[in-house]
Symmetry: D2
Subunit: 131 residues, 4 copies
């Protein structure tokens, strides 16, 4: 059971929609990433500072299930809940829900790992704060 | 066995890189989408014309395995090979490979479906040309 | 004298930053566009609905003065104030200011015109609401 | 008189189009930036390497005249011609032309300056190669 995961709220911006008039597929990854970084912030971590310190956190796998399309102006929440996978990886389970009716728009599972100076995989102690 | 899938070649543009100095995760979905649309073109189909005709092709699931990061200036190929899944879906298997050494950078499986006027799922006869 | 122009508040998202670690130049146009569309909303107009009705509002000139760079996490305001230019054009004067210290980050003058069904220039009566 | 400026050729990708079905305004700045960076390459300079060396080249003013809209699939050229402005600035004059009919789509004047370690304005000797 997931107990109150971290959640942030956003709104679709018109430029995020493509010629189908709905949010472009790639943009959802931006939403998900932004929510993860907000989650880091909520735990006292800052993605750009970590990067500057040589802690390079990379996505190694993304699974995205698109349920319904977000449209211009839609307000939505993006949730983040984290668990460790093995010794070196973390998995972020995320959902995007439309605010007006709580409909599930997208479900995602993002697996991330860290590279010391962009090379050797390791588990940075900073990431302990996420768990 | 996959026999010579469709392939298109691109090059990383600096603005596609984020503060880690590597191509942002979401951008790979743009590369993949662009290659799929080029593939449609190669079969005499045009995504924006299909959209104008009310044939709305949407991604319903994306699985992306990030193997290595593309960097500023890297040249790479994006492949597309298609198969039908059930009666209504198509799956695009795609690979992104760096041109200098043929290294696999990303592997993806994109499942798409079509909606008649954005609502009822169906299999547009136009898509028969892809298979 | 400009009397309390419309203002919206946003925050830099990490993916909007490029390999220099600062917000990419093009992204400011997204911020400006989003603020203009929010401004339309505040006047009872909706950009995507106008588009669907065949009212195509296009930017014909953009002047942007970049004063200082926005950085990851920065909160900022985007203002919009409008005036008519000649019989057919509107000019949006916009400023982006960092919230922590009210510093001016960017100043812009965006000139827009409307096309009836994407062709003939005209002044849609809807836009009267902006002035 | 401008003698054969640097030129690069690109093609509109569908994801670069917004809900109006034409290339989004901000995207043109990406095209222009990419052409400038290609121009740097043609002179033996690399934008991301310069950045890594602490040579931070920033746009301080952009003037863009949108003449006609690029549409899905359009092939176009982006030209770059450079001149020095005062002691510390360079101006890039750029044009975007549709390849099928050589029509002018956008005309731009981009003024850039350099910051030593992101702070003090100076003229990096590397940029002498551009002129």
């Amino acid at each position: 059971m997931r107990i109150s995961p971290f959640t942030t709220e956003l709104q679709v911006r018109d430029y995020e929609c493509d010629l189908q008039g709905i949010v472009n597929n790639a943009v959802y990854q931006h939403y998900l990433e932004h929510a993860r970084h907000e989650y880091l912030n909520s735990r006292g971590l800052d993605f750009s500072e970590l990067t500057a310190l040589g802690v390079i956190i990379v996505v190694i796998r993304a699974e995205l299930d698109y349920k319904q399309a977000l449209r211009p102006g839609d307000r939505f929440s993006v949730s983040v809940s984290v668990k460790k996978l093995g010794r070196l990886k973390v998995v972020f389970e995320q959902e995007i829900r439309r605010l007006t009716d709580d409909e599930l728009m997208l479900e995602a599972k993002i697996t991330a790992a860290s590279l010391k100076n962009g090379e050797r995989p390791y588990f940075p102690e900073e990431l302990g704060k996420l768990l």
